[in-house]
Amino acid sequence: MTPAVTFAAVTRRFGAGPAAVRAVDRVDLTVPEGAFFAMLGPSGSGKTTCLRLISGFEKPDEGAVRIFGQDVSGTPPHLRNVNTVFQDYALFPHLNVRDNVAYGLMVRGMARRPRHERAEAMLALVKLAGYGDRRPAQLSGGQRQRVALARALVGEPRVLLLDEPLGALDLKLREAMQDELRALQRRLGITFVLVTHDQGEALSMADRLAVFNEGRIAQVGTPAEIYDRPRTRFVADFVGSSNVLPPSVTQALGGPPRWASLRPEALRLTPPGGAVLAGAVTAVRYLGSASRVQVAVPGAELGVMVPAGEAVPEPGSTHGLAFDPAALHLMEEA
């Protein structure tokens, strides 16, 4: 099966001469067909530039971008069968919702009636039936988001690109939309490529994700792979609320002198006597279903999850730490 999108040693530089910045630095990437693929990274890591390389709003300086096997280097955005949900939604304020959704069909020459029917069907799919006559300005943020989604999907693109689509929504709506997007992707079978800086979003929605750092991909894998076995310190730091252990602490825990990660859920508080690691509680954060307790041990500060219902320690009290040795993950790179 041809992958939906491939990057072969793609570089994109901004600026000129010695001051040039490699926003995307020799990136190799494969997005399988039908995947919900997330590109995760902090701002400036190159993930959005990668998305724009797929949509055609950026051109690679080196390397090749292929969509379903076809090199798109010379193909302008309007001829790529790829649609984007923009971060600010970019709905046309002078058109009503129906005409916004039907825009892609209109510019491709579909007659008014069939394109309005298709737009209405799409609006129904995103649960906005009956909103066709409204202007974008009369909609809430979540509704605009759905219109943008309907507009991007109505032309049945081979790949749907989503640029931080949920960034402007409040938490509850965001979680609901995450589920809906996931369900929609499964139902339509279209390849989704999502750009986000929110690791929770990437982990919960995607079935594959790439973690970006400084224009390069730090790791590609399934959410579980990335979360449980981060390849680098950066990935562990960025993706998880995971503890990153310097070599000295790994050694104290009985491992080799290498950087390692240890999930907070895999640590338990014990009485201080006789523990391999012990330290004072520096902070306690209540998370609802659990409390995250920060314990300062020699060489590191570790987060420990204390499930709700168990006794939460006082800040300043000293505790020992026990852990599940199988959960200790050694990283390949520092």
Binding site: P76, H78, T84, Q87, A90, F92, H94, R108, A152
Partner: protein, 311 residues
């Protein structure tokens, strides 16, 4: 421990406190003088002039008869006066159209591509002509367009003399030379009012987010489709604002047609002559109503066409 309320440091603190308690006071103080100026001095005198139009002049004594009548408006319908109105209207429309066509690429370039230093160069380039006297510019154009001027000289130099002569021989708008033809008047109008079209257009285009143009291309639109269906509708309020400037400025101007062009009269010139030498204030006032009426109709049409929907 400091007190919960800090001591006032002086008049500024106390005044700010007063304005905080009475927000409308500051608004009133700021708006009062200009509204007084605009409302009483400007609109008042304009109204006083326009009221004159419902009076008429006594043909024997030459004195204004202060009895409401529509006689003066009927006079506007005389062929000679209708000619003036039509000539002005056509000129204003042509100037506005030409300004819009010339200004659009400039405004688009400034709004989309110019940043930092280039933006400053753009503003300077657009505004610079406004710094010199209007009369100087018009007389300069008279020389440029004169038979012995640089345009004729250059046209002959590159062998385009026959083309120029062909243009000048066009019936109705041609003439002896560019500076004595309607074409000359038109060119000078376009030059003089162009900044008033560029600036609002640029402001409107700048407000069109880049992502909207990208969204259009993303959905499959060509550049032409994006221009027609996204850029133009969104920039239309700016285009209309600019056209209000160029249209009304052309309709009211009485200097350019006097200096460059045929000596045929335009509305501005007619008003100027009627209220001055002729002493026919009612007819001058009636003429002054014409551009106002045209602008009202123009704005109503623009509104109906949805020019302000994107505001």
């Amino acid at each position: 421990m400091t007190a919960a309320i800090l001591p006032a440091r002086g008049l500024g603190d106390r005044l700010t406190a007063v304005f905080w308690r009475r927000p409308r006071l500051l608004l009133g103080l700021l708006l009062g003088p200009p509204l007084l100026w605009l409302g009483v001095v400007y609109l008042g005198s304009l109204a006083a002039l326009l009221v004159q139009s419902v009076f008429a002049i006594d043909e024997f004594s030459g004195l204004v008869v202060y009895e409401p009548t529509l006689k003066t408006y009927a006079e506007l319908a005389r062929p000679a006066n209708l000619d003036i109105i039509l000539r002005t209207l056509v000129m204003a429309a042509a100037v506005t159209l030409a300004c819009a066509v010339v200004a659009f690429p400039i405004a688009l370039c400034a709004a989309r591509h110019a940043t930092g230093r280039w933006k400053a160069v753009f503003y300077l380039g657009v505004m610079l002509p406004l710094w010199s006297s209007y009369l100087v510019k018009v007389y300069a154009w008279k020389l440029i367009l004169a038979k012995e001027g640089i345009v004729t000289w250059a046209a002959e130099g590159i062998g385009a003399g026959p083309i120029l002569n062909l243009v000048l021989s066009l019936p109705g708008i041609g003439g002896n030379s560019l500076s004595t033809s309607y074409i000359g008047t038109f060119l000078v109008f376009v030059y003089v009012w162009l900044p008033f079209m560029i600036l609002p257009m640029q402001a409107a285009l700048e407000r069109v987010p880049a992502s909207m143009i990208e969204a259009s291309a993303d959905l499959g639109a060509t550049r032409g489709q994006t221009f027609r269906t996204v850029v133009l509708p969104l920039a239309l309020p700016g285009v209309v604002a600019g056209s209000i400037f160029t249209f009304s400025l052309t309709m009211g101007d009485y200097i350019i047609p006097q200096i460059v062009g045929t000596s045929a009269r335009f509305i501005g010139l007619a008003v100027y002559q009627l209220q001055g030498t002729a002493g026919n204030l009612p007819l001058a006032a009636a003429f002054a109503v014409v551009p106002i009426a045209i602008m009202v109709v123009y704005l109503a049409v623009a509104r109906r066409m949805g020019a302000f929907d994107a505001l």
